[in-house]
Each structure stands twice: as structure tokens, then as C-alpha cells.
């Protein structure tokens, strides 16, 4: 069974149909790439999946359960984590607090617990260690460089042990060395069983990392296949370069 399934999802903004009867599935255990030219509706799809937007029509199923229309925090609880294209952080909190904010709480009694529990601290430090910014754990998040903020986003996304992680341009604004690390992390997590859906524009990265790749254009799914197949498909090139 597919981990995530979009079924004929449509989202309009005023006169513009940003996502137009879009359907695709993300199989468990894959790193699925989501590519397409500007304005194809990729980020809108992410916003629909994570609950920040509600689809006008269509269904979104996660692990067989309908999640469209649920508030974002419930969708996060079900096991979908996401990062943002432009890294967003709680800038006046420490890096550690940023990560721990993403730790799930259950019920009202949990709210009274200390903000940073010992086991959470250990887990968060381990995650920061994993992405390589543990030495900054007690700095205010706004002091991080842009690349470090990207890494922080990744660590935050991991805190709730999600089944599916949506990455919105993980390589955007990141230098090549950092990028290599991010790719390594994604691959490590993938081996440990996490599923990824990644929007990315650096094609070398997508082609090397993702399988399968979904191509969107005009809010619709244009093609889905292995990286090689996508590169060979004339329609994909047309979508990017325009019809000759």
C-alpha cells in the first residue's frame, strides 16, 4: 500500500488553478523526487499535504487514512514532517529549543512537564550531532548561518520520528560541501526506513538521489518514472524548455 496518496486533488487561488486534479502516490521506503518548472504547483502540493491549505476537491490519504482538511498539527502527529523552502526557525529560541519544540506532546498533563526533558535533550543533541551543528545547541537560532538553518530544519523534522518527510528544496542556498552532508543524511535516514518526498531544482541531486521522480507542470502530474526515464522523456524537457 502506498504511504501517501493524492487522489484528484485540486486547489484554486482566485482564478488561478495552482493544483489541478493532481494524483500521485509515494510508496513507503522510497526517496521520491518532485520536480517541475516554476509555478507548477509543487510547494502548493506540500502545503496541501501538511494541512496548511485545504484542497477544494480531492482526497489525500496517509497510510490509508484520509488527512485532507485536518489541521496541520494533527497531520504532523500522524507522522508527516516537513521543511520549508526558505528556512524558518524560532529565532529567539536556542537551537536546542527549536528542535525540542518539535517533540510530540500528548494530552494536557504533558504540557506541564519541563520544557526540555532530559531524554529529549539527549535525543535533540544526538540529532544536532547527526546534522553537525551540536556545538551551536545553546546559541539563539537567529545567529545561525543560512546553511546551518537548513540543517536545523532537518534536525527539527526528525525530532518526532516521522514516517514521511517532505523536504522543500533542501539544497537551496546551501554550499556544495554542506549539500554533500545533507545528501548523506538523507541516505542514512532512508536506509533506516524513512520515506522522503523531495522538491528540488538541482537536477544532479534529484537524479542521483531520488527514485522515482514525479514531474509536475501546470498543476498536473506530467510523468513519473526512474531518473533515467525522466531524462529521456521529451515531454519533460518540453515542460522545462517550452515546446519547440
Amino acid at each position: 500500500m502506498a504511504l501517501l496518496e493524492l487522489n484528484e486533488v485540486t486547489k484554486r487561488f482566485g482564478g488561478l488553478t495552482a493544483v489541478d486534479r493532481c494524483s500521485f502516490t509515494v510508496e513507503a521506503g522510497t526517496i521520491t523526487g518532485l520536480i517541475g518548472p516554476n509555478g507548477a504547483g509543487k510547494t502548493t502540493v506540500f502545503n496541501l499535504i501538511s494541512g496548511l491549505l485545504k484542497p477544494d476537491v480531492g482526497k489525500i490519504l496517509f497510510a490509508g487514512e484520509e488527512v485532507n482538511g485536518k489541521p496541520p498539527h494533527l497531520i504532523t502527529r500522524k507522522g508527516i514532517a516537513r521543511t520549508f523552502q526558505i528556512a524558518r526557525e524560532f529565532e529567539e529560541m536556542t537551537v536546542l529549543e527549536n528542535v525540542i519544540t518539535h517533540s510530540p506532546t500528548r494530552g494536557l498533563p504533558d504540557l506541564l512537564k519541563r520544557s526540555v526533558l532530559k531524554e529529549e535533550r539527549e535525543k535533540a543533541i544526538a540529532l544536532l550531532e547527526f546534522v553537525g551543528i551540536a556545538h551551536l545547541a545553546y546559541e539563539e537560532a537567529r545567529k545561525l548561518s543560512y546553511g546551518q538553518k537548513k540543517l536545523l530544519e532537518l534536525a527539527c523534522a526528525l525530532m518526532a520520528d516521522p514516517k514521511l518527510i517532505l523536504l522543500d528544496e533542501p539544497a537551496g542556498g546551501v554550499n556544495p560541501r554542506l549539500l554533500e552532508r545533507i545528501v548523506e543524511h538523507i541516505e542514512t535516514l532512508h536506509r533506516q526506513g524513512t520515506t522522503f518526498l523531495i522538491i528540488e531544482h538541482k537536477m544532479d541531486l534529484v537524479m542521483g538521489l531520488c527514485h522515482p521522480v514525479i514531474v509536475m507542470a501546470y498543476g498536473k502530474v506530467l510523468a513519473k518514472g526512474s531518473p533515467e526515464e525522466i531524462q529521456e522523456d521529451p515531454r519533460v524537457l518540453d515542460a522545462y524548455l517550452g515546446a519547440a
Binding site: 548561518s145 513519473k224 515546446a243
Partner: protein, 256 residues
């Protein structure tokens, strides 16, 4: 040289450099197309030239004058018009009023009225719709209005940011036809386009950007067939290309 961009870096807020040392040389009366994958910094470049974003380093020189620290309205008065990606119309104003606003920097009313009539000749559809609110226009008409608005000032340079974005293919073709018309009128055009083939068709010279840097440049018609471009958009091919074999793809549900 009409407009020169020298080694400009720029970015948003405290963020990283989106432009990382970009240079352009724009000559009077020619048209240029800037292409490159998403995130190459094409839109940012135009926003920097027209003053919505301040360059962090480098120089922007227009008719021998450095523009780096001018406000958008000052740069506009120098003769550079910008048509942004989102068209930036005034949704609750009529077509006519949008054009009147376009001539905001002009003080002679009759002159402005005459210019509007000239623009109506280039875009007859706008004349028909002149009393309609801008928000009720179709996507293609909105794009034409945005271009018409820039033309009012008879600028030395007109900069268009992805004019075909969000338009259905047929409508996009109309928009490109209009751009060619502008070119025939002798305008200097700086076009940013995702639709590289169509964009280059409209241009004399092409610039290819990637990751905020100049990648390469050349006459537009030769870039059209450059294999490097394909690679830039779709990544390096792994292994050799299987000859003459078309693979079947798993189609999306709505795939054609």
C-alpha cells in the same frame, strides 16, 4: 553600452547571496533573454536592477551613471521599466486607470492620454476592455496590461520577468508574439524566461545563469541548440544515452 551590470551580488534580508557575481552588457535596441534553472537568480537580478533590492556589491551602470543606491521610482525615471512575475497590477482599478498609474511620473495629461492611445494600438484588446477592472481580465490579458503599462513611459529598457508564467500554452504564444512586436518597435528588452526556447526565439543574445553566476552566453539562436542547456535543466546524464530506444514511462493518472 546602455546598461551594464558588473559583478553584482545580492540577496534578501540576512539570507545568502542569491546573485553571486553576475555581469550583463546590454546594448541599445537589442533584446536579451536570461535563462537558467530555478534558483539561478534570474528574477532577483531584475529586481536588483530596478531598485527593489539593493546590490551588496558590484555596480549597475545605466547611461554612464551608477544606479546602486537609487529608489525604484528614481530608477524608473531614468528609463528602466520592470514587469514583475506576478504582474503587479492594481486589481481594483480599471484597465485605463492602471495605464494612468503607469504614467504617474508624467505630468503632462495630454501627452499621457496620447501615449495610452498609442499603447491601445499595440494591444487592441486592452482598448476593448479599458473600463473593466484589472482583476477581471484573463491571465494573458493581465500580462499584456502589465507590458502595456511599462510601455507608457517609452522606457529605454523594458525588463520582463517570466511573462509566460501561469499561462496556458496558446496564450503564452500570444504573449511572445507581443514581445516580438515590441522588438520590432526597436525596444531594448531584457527578458527572463523559464520557457527557454520561446524566450530565446524572441532574443538576439542569451545569457545562461546558474546558482547566481554567469554560466555562459551567446547568440540566442545558437544557444537554442546547445546541449549544455538541456543538461543544465535536467542534470548530467549518467552513462551514455541509449540510442533509438524509447522507454515507456509510468504515467501520472492524468498523464496524456
Amino acid at each position: 553600452m546602455l546598461l551594464e551590470v558588473e559583478n553584482v551580488t545580492a540577496g534578501y534580508g540576512a539570507g545568502p547571496n542569491i546573485l553571486d557575481g553576475v555581469s550583463l552588457r546590454i546594448e541599445q535596441g537589442k533584446s536579451y533573454c536570461i535563462i537558467g534553472p530555478n534558483g539561478a537568480g534570474k528574477s532577483t537580478l531584475l529586481r536588483t536592477i530596478c531598485g527593489l533590492l539593493r546590490p551588496r556589491s558590484g555596480r549597475i551602470i545605466f547611461k554612464g551613471e551608477v544606479l546602486n543606491n537609487l529608489r525604484p521610482d528614481q530608477i524608473l525615471r531614468k528609463g528602466i521599466c520592470f514587469v514583475p512575475q506576478d504582474r503587479s497590477l492594481f486589481p481594483e482599478m480599471s484597465v485605463k486607470e492602471n495605464l494612468l498609474m503607469a504614467g504617474y511620473t508624467l505630468t503632462n495629461k495630454q501627452d499621457l492620454e496620447q501615449r495610452i492611445q498609442t499603447v491601445f494600438e499595440i494591444f487592441p484588446v486592452l482598448k476593448e476592455r479599458q473600463s473593466q477592472l484589472a482583476q477581471t481580465l484573463s491571465g494573458g490579458e493581465q500580462q499584456m496590461l502589465a507590458m502595456a503599462r511599462a510601455l507608457i513611459l517609452k522606457p529605454d529598457v523594458i525588463m520582463l520577468d517570466e511573462p509566460s508564467l501561469g499561462l496556458a500554452p496558446l496564450v503564452a504564444i500570444q504573449v511572445f508574439e507581443s514581445i516580438k512586436k515590441l522588438k520590432e518597435l526597436g525596444m531594448t528588452i531584457l527578458l527572463v524566461e523559464q520557457n527557454a526556447r520561446k524566450g530565446l526565439e524572441c532574443a538576439d543574445w542569451g545569457y545562461v545563469l546558474d546558482l547566481g553566476k554567469n554560466r555562459f552566453e551567446g547568440p540566442a539562436h545558437s544557444l537554442l541548440h546547445d546541449p549544455q542547456i538541456e543538461e543544465l535543466y535536467l542534470g548530467k546524464r549518467r552513462g551514455t544515452r541509449p540510442q533509438g530506444k524509447t522507454r515507456t514511462l509510468e504515467q501520472g493518472v492524468d498523464g496524456s
